[in-house]
């Protein structure tokens, strides 16, 4: 009778609490405690019923969990083992873990080179990936600091709209709740007698903050009418600027001297707010002119409730009809064509995405290579330890336990690498941010703990990846068989297929980075090969901004004075000034009339106002006629009869004087005075480096008024290497001669060219660096695996050499093995590149994503390095004395 009752009882025993207890109890005492519990459960069941007994068991399990876990931890930590258990198998779960950790630490300490290589390579990958993640996070993953930013979009191209167009459309944008217009509007700020300083800002219509759904943290936002004709201009300042100005709430209502005129501060934006980039610290209004043709405004709007930016076709259609009816557009500048809305996020940070994604992917690849490398090293260790593991297995160690040891070792390496990576990320994220083409975001990149968290997560993933391959090898391997094989040896030795697979993967990954870098090198070389039409070496560049309140005659006089003072600086050959220098975007264009060419009337061309030595200073070649000289006398503002001298470029001649004779021809547009062409200069990349040559006219400052409040001075030094040195003296000269001018920035013409070459250059530098790293890591991997391969088959070689095979054949064979692996890796990598190179499309110039030359360069580099890495262990194997090997085994 008892037996069936027992069975019934056992069946009614709740499994879950028993399993929990089984998990938590130390192995040595598990059986007896569980038996006691079962017995007591039976007693309870007999006395108070099964339901109550089950409840009792649950209570036991739940209340025991915490003390048992603490107990396990304590035993593991202290290493305490009761006397009674001295001859019992196993300890607690944690105790094993601690023992394994100690054992792994001892093993790692005993192999410092392996440990160092593993920790360093993984640490580099983790640190790099975490740093790039930290930089990319605010740009790509964090929400923008505006309410429902997905409802906000910019219209057509940025910087394309005029005040006239905006004011015509204002309040009537179909499908939009509010639309604002803004353009760059850096201002000078003067406090007391201190030199003016430049505050990066934007000039905006009053709707901007309504569109963004952003509210000031103190004070008010802009109100309708703030930008009306005759209204007093008002400004909102950033939290950072407010702090610099004293951080007092009383700032609201005070007047700051901005651009030489008082402007009332009406609000302070909250900390963390930015628009359109983090460098901007002031948002101010100015009266909008209904006839204002001079634009460069960007329109930004919030769709009406229920609308969707991606589904605004009919509204956009209506809008193009409205502007088409009202305005006449020149072909090529027709705003009724190519009308598109760009979501705000894409408009603000979209341009940085390709560079960030490319860098992030490259860093991730480096991490993968590092993982493959460490996995290969560990796999080599597992195979090297085959005999030890086999003996342990024969003595009763289960595969699970052996696996646990492997994992513990990888975790230790991962902890080291994670710490190193977090340190590297903290130290290096600013360097990487500076090297990335992300503009103001780099200066505002701030370290936060998410980078550490990222490093930690990446380290965990890396460890899992690393341990995967050796674990598979261990699981599949025939441990006990190893013992017998080790005794007898084998002609072919063990396979090592996994190891070879890892090398192929490493080479393939390295190929991805190397060919991406090669593509960018080709692209950047193409960009630098473009002749910008100027001599960039030995030219210093100084950007100044004066207050808009300054009259154009006064500004002109100050510019002349500054040119003279700068020319008298030691080491300076010539100085020129212009409202806008080449390679920095389009700038202003005016309508034009050309004598004898009525077609010109509806076209616009760039115009530049320059000082006499401008062409000489920038090395712009004269093609015909003359440059400006002393015979060109200044013309007063009210004088509309004296003829102005104009210098045009070759593209201008080609477009407006098809017969090629431009010198002496009369033209008009822009100014009331008659104009005559006196000279022709070579084409210069006035806007962007890659633009085709555009027609440009140059006017002499003094004959044409110096409007706009900015000026750029170019200073050619007698020695090309002095360009950067002269900048300090130049800056001081500006402060002495024209304290009302704020120095906006100083640079050199070479840097201007670098900037014009664009993000591709910076991404290229980073990827070149990373591909060098990838090649080194790949070489380490190949070296390690080929060393193992050679060592495994040492006995095999020894026999063959003893039988007369020349040592050189051994070397050839081993190098051939290495070369074959590298070749397969390169082929796979090339396939991957075809897919991944699309990420780079927007960074490439004059080269497709599938470029044979770039592929060939990357392949050759990888192949040479791979074969070199394989030849070291091969040579060693080829020169070994067979007698020694045979005796050793």
């Amino acid at each position: 009778m008892r037996a069936p009752e027992d069975t019934r009882l056992r069946r009614s025993l709740p499994r879950l609490p028993m399993a929990l207890l089984r998990l938590l109890l130390p192995r040595a005492e598990r059986g007896e405690v569980l038996a006691d519990i079962t017995a007591e459960y039976a007693e309870h069941a007999a006395r108070v019923g099964r339901a109550e007994a089950r409840r009792w068991l649950w209570r036991q399990a739940i209340h025991s969990a915490l003390p048992l876990l603490g107990w396990s931890w304590w035993r593991g930590w202290t290493g305490f083992e009761p006397r009674a258990n001295a001859y019992r198998p196993g300890g607690s779960m944690l105790r094993n873990l601690f023992a394994d950790a100690r054992y792994a630490a001892r093993r790692l300490r005993a192999r410092p080179v392996y440990t160092l290589v593993a920790v360093l390579t993984l640490g580099l990958g983790i640190g790099g990936t975490a740093a790039v993640y930290g930089i990319a996070r605010p740009l790509m993953f964090q929400p923008l600091p505006y309410a429902n930013a997905s409802d906000v979009a910019t219209f057509w191209m940025p910087g394309w709209w005029t005040e006239e167009e905006f004011l015509y459309l204002r309040g009537n944008f179909p499908g939009f709740r509010a639309v604002g217009a803004y353009r760059p509007g850096d201002v000078t700020l003067r406090q007391g007698d201190a030199p003016a300083r430049l505050i990066p800002g934007i000039t905006t219509s009053s709707e901007l903050f309504d569109v963004l759904g952003a509210h000031p943290f103190i004070g008010r936002g802009f109100q309708a009418g703030d930008d009306a004709q005759g209204a007093e201009p008002v400004a909102l300042i950033s939290y950072g600027l407010w702090q610099e100005l004293g951080g007092q709430p009383s700032i609201i209502g005070t007047r700051l001297m901005l651009d030489g005129a008082p402007q009332t501060v009406v609000g302070v934006m909250p900390r963390g707010f930015w628009f359109p980039d983090p460098a901007v610290r002031i948002w101010h209004t100015k009266p909008l002119d209904p006839q204002g043709r001079n634009g460069s405004y960007t329109l930004v709007g919030r769709v009406a409730p229920g609308g969707d930016i991606r589904n605004m076709g009919s509204q956009v259609q209506r809008l193009t009809e409205m502007i088409g009816e009202r305005f006449d557009y020149e072909i090529g500048a027709d705003k009724t064509q190519n009308a598109t809305l760009t979501p705000l996020r894409d408009a603000l940070v979209g341009s940085m995405r390709p560079a960030l994604v490319a860098t992030f992917v490259a860093m991730g690849l480096i991490l993968l290579i590092a993982c493959a490398n460490v996995a290969a090293l560990m796999l080599g260790q597992v195979e090297g330890r085959a005999s030890e593991l086999a003996v342990r297995s024969a003595l009763g160690a289960g595969r699970g336990r052996l696996m646990q040891q492997l994992v513990v070792e990888a975790v230790l390496v991962g902890i080291g690498a994670g710490l190193l990576g977090a340190g590297l990320a903290a130290a290096g994220y600013r360097v990487i941010a500076g090297a990335l083409p992300i503009g103001a975001w780099a200066e505002n990149a701030s370290f936060d703990w998410s980078i550490f968290a990222a490093a930690l997560v990446i380290a965990i993933v890396a460890v899992l990846l690393v341990v995967l391959v050796p674990a598979v090898s261990l699981w599949r391997g025939d441990l006990r068989g190893t013992l017998t094989r080790a005794r007898t040896g084998g002609i072919q030795g063990r396979g090592g297929r996994l190891e070879r697979g890892l090398v192929v993967a490493e080479v393939a990954l390295a190929m991805l980075i190397a060919s991406a870098a090669a593509l960018l090198v080709r692209s950047v070389t193409n960009l630098y090969a473009i002749d910008p039409g100027i001599t960039t070496q030995g030219v210093a560049v100084l950007d100044v901004v004066s207050s808009t309140g300054m009259g154009s005659a006064e500004r002109q006089q100050k510019v002349d004075e500054l040119v003279r003072s700068l020319e008298s600086l030691p080491g300076v050959r010539s100085v020129g000034a212009a409202m806008k220098i080449p390679l920095r975007g389009g700038g202003d264009s005016f309508g034009i009339t050309v004598e004898g060419n009525p077609d010109a009337a509806r076209t616009f061309t760039y115009f530049r106002i320059v000082t006499p030595n401008y062409f000489e200073t920038l090395g712009i070649k004269l093609r015909g006629g003359r440059a400006f000289d002393a015979s060109d006398k200044p013309i007063a503002d009210d004088d509309s009869t004296t003829e102005m001298s104009v210098v045009v470029n070759e593209a201008f001649v080609k477009k407006y004087f098809p017969d090629g004779n431009a010198i002496g021809r009369r033209m008009g547009g822009g100014f009331t005075s008659p104009q005559r062409v006196v000279g022709v200069v070579a084409n210069v990349a006035e806007a962007a480096l890659t633009d085709s040559a555009a027609p440009v006219r140059y006017y002499l400052a003094g004959q044409a008024p110096w409007f706009g409040n900015s000026a750029t001075f170019v200073v050619r030094t007698t020695r090309a290497s002095d360009a950067a040195e002269v900048l300090d003296a130049a800056r001081r000269t500006v402060q002495q001669v024209a304290p009302a001018f704020a120095v906006q920035g100083t640079t050199t013409m070479e840097r201007v060219l670098d900037t014009a070459v664009g993000p591709a250059r910076q991404v290229m530098s980073l990827l070149t660096l990373l591909s060098a790293l990838a090649l080194v890591l790949g070489a380490v991997g190949i070296y390690g695996v080929i060393s193992h391969f050679a060592a495994r088959r040492q006995r095999d070689w020894a026999i063959r050499v003893a039988l007369g095979l020349p040592g050189s054949r051994v070397v050839t064979h081993i190098v051939g093995q290495g070369a074959a692996l590298v070749a397969v890796g390169i082929a796979l990598g090339a396939l991957g590149t075809v897919v991944l190179a699309r990420l780079l499309t927007s960074l490439l110039f004059g080269v497709g994503t599938v470029d044979p030359l770039a592929f060939a360069a990357a392949s050759v580099a990888l192949f040479v390095i791979g074969v070199a890495a394989a030849s070291i262990p091969a040579r060693r194997a080829g020169t070994v004395d067979p007698a020694l090997v045979m005796r050793e085994q």
């Binding site: 007896e32 038996a35 048992l68 202290t78 305490f80 006397r83 009674a84």
Partner: protein, 118 residues
Amino acid sequence: MTDTSSITDSPFAPLGVLEEQVVVAVLRTRGEAYGMQARREIERVTGRELSIGAVYATLDRLEAKGLLTSSRVVDDSSSRRLFAVTPEGARALADTRAMRERLWHGVNVRELLALARA
């Protein structure tokens, strides 16, 4: 009156409440002091349920301190860990009790009970 002058100066006294209960239970179940038995003894006397985990963790800690010792008793079907109090454990328990007595000295139990009933 108990003689409270015979304090042995054990560094482990006073024992924690559960530690004290466990050592006493090991003494009371002399010869039968398995973990489970000790737990049941405490439950029986105090009338409170006690978790196995807490008892095992305490037994281990006491053994690590040298207040208990364990040995393995093997019978035909099973093997169990049996606990015994060491001389150091006995000293610690005696001291703990002595300290408690001194603490209680001067407390009028009758008044205490009256207060408790109020």
